[in-house]
Symmetry: C2
């Protein structure tokens, strides 16, 4: 069994939430893959540098200045702080991007009207080195950058990175991958104001109706879409509170 855990920018940006997740990861007691975002930290640096950021359809338009920022923030600042914090917990681990070990190859997003710049859509996931590391007891921390195979880095959605890596592990290596999307809520909630209203199961067939009535909002939709894709290949996928990693609470996504 291998856990692929995704944490977003809100957790990364909050010291106590981050420490909580890393404690939970350490308690899994087996090597894991931790995929992190970092959009909030990137936006802060962009502000400091006076580089305006534009988000379209939940994706950051990534010109050359913004690519530099996300490379520094995701692969440098966030990734290496997480790696060091896990080492402090006795967890042997290595931080990677999709360029490292050729983990995730991508191409620049093709869109009829919007130029997303250096945003990468995934072509191939190569889990051979990742698998060697995991089987040698080494966890891997993944920053949401990919590469184009021609020396260029690309900015790729972390939810999609997590699902793609999980799916590649599940289909090529083992059949008991556990994908966890962790966030500040206890799961997908019927009523966002009521933490007791977690929906325990969401089937792929429910997604359209839940989106139409606003229970799944535009921010959550890509996560759910990725989760459904992963569930389709037999992965156990759950959307959970940061503190719930290692339990079966939260929202279980089924295909």
């Amino acid at each position: 069994m291998t856990y692929v855990v995704k944490i977003g920018g809100a957790i990364v940006d909050d010291e106590s939430s981050l420490n909580l997740v890393l404690d939970r990861c350490a308690a899994l007691d087996k090597p894991f893959v931790l995929v992190h975002g970092g959009g909030r930290v990137a936006s802060t640096l962009a502000d400091e540098l006076g580089i305006e950021q534009t988000i379209v359809d939940g994706r950051r338009i990534t010109n050359v200045d913004t690519l530099r920022i996300v490379t520094m923030v995701y692969a440098g600042l966030i990734n290496k702080n997480i790696v060091a914090k896990l080492q402090a917990r006795g967890i042997q681990n290595i931080g990677m991007t999709g360029a490292d070990a050729n983990l995730v190859r991508a191409h620049r997003r093709i869109h009829p009207t919007i130029d997303f710049g250096f945003v990468g859509d995934i072509d191939e996931v190569h889990v051979d080195v990742l698998t060697m590391l995991l089987s040698n007891g080494i966890s891997v921390v993944v920053a949401p950058l990919t590469h184009d195979g021609e020396g260029g880095l690309l900015n790729t959605n972390a939810d999609t990175m997590a699902a793609s890596i999980a799916m590649s592990l599940q289909t090529k290596v083992e059949s008991d991958v556990q994908l966890r999307y962790l966030f500040e809520h206890p799961g997908v909630m019927q009523d966002i104001g009521n933490t007791d209203s977690v929906i325990p199961l969401v089937h792929a067939a429910d997604v359209a109706a839940l989106t139409a009535n606003g229970i799944i909002d535009t921010g959550m939709l890509p996560k759910i879409t990725n989760a459904v894709d992963a569930a389709r290949v037999g992965i156990d996928v759950r959307i959970q509170h940061v503190s719930a990693l290692g339990t079966i609470s939260g929202t279980h996504i089924l295909c």
Copy 2:
């Protein structure tokens, strides 16, 4: 035989020099360790952010803002661009800091009068994972950051990182490590203005005299000191021009 190659900030900051070195590394045709600096790029970012930099005894005083900068620049921007450029050359490789795989543990520099901040002096090098990667055909690109084992990152001299990793490989794993310090000159020169004046051999015993008469300047001295340390454990150490990697030209350092 394993090459440990060090390139400094001047090479990293110059696209054509960097490409030349990466071509030469790719032509080695065996897995290598490439340690890079990046001080010039870090200074540029510090300027953009209005964070003043102070260099004492060749070391960057590293307060919390500067630690953030070097983490972003060394482990993010520079390391991942090199990793992607090597992938484009068909070289399977992973980028690491001293925190990754617990490669290099360090402590904050202790000094009677100067507070260097988050500057790390090396305690231990752990080459077990590095060796596993190399023996599986995977080269490793190392950024000059270490960790303190308590979750903190530290800014460590790249020349020293290269020598320490080479020495650990030489003494623990194999006895044919080749350490190469590459820079923009053809070697240690009798007359800096004359490229034909390369000193082919420098013995440890010569260093004091060469320093006294200015042939080894204060910028070069730490490199020579590290080189001599490495030569003492039987490593073949050469200071060479960027284009010379793979040849025996340049200055051979002997203990």
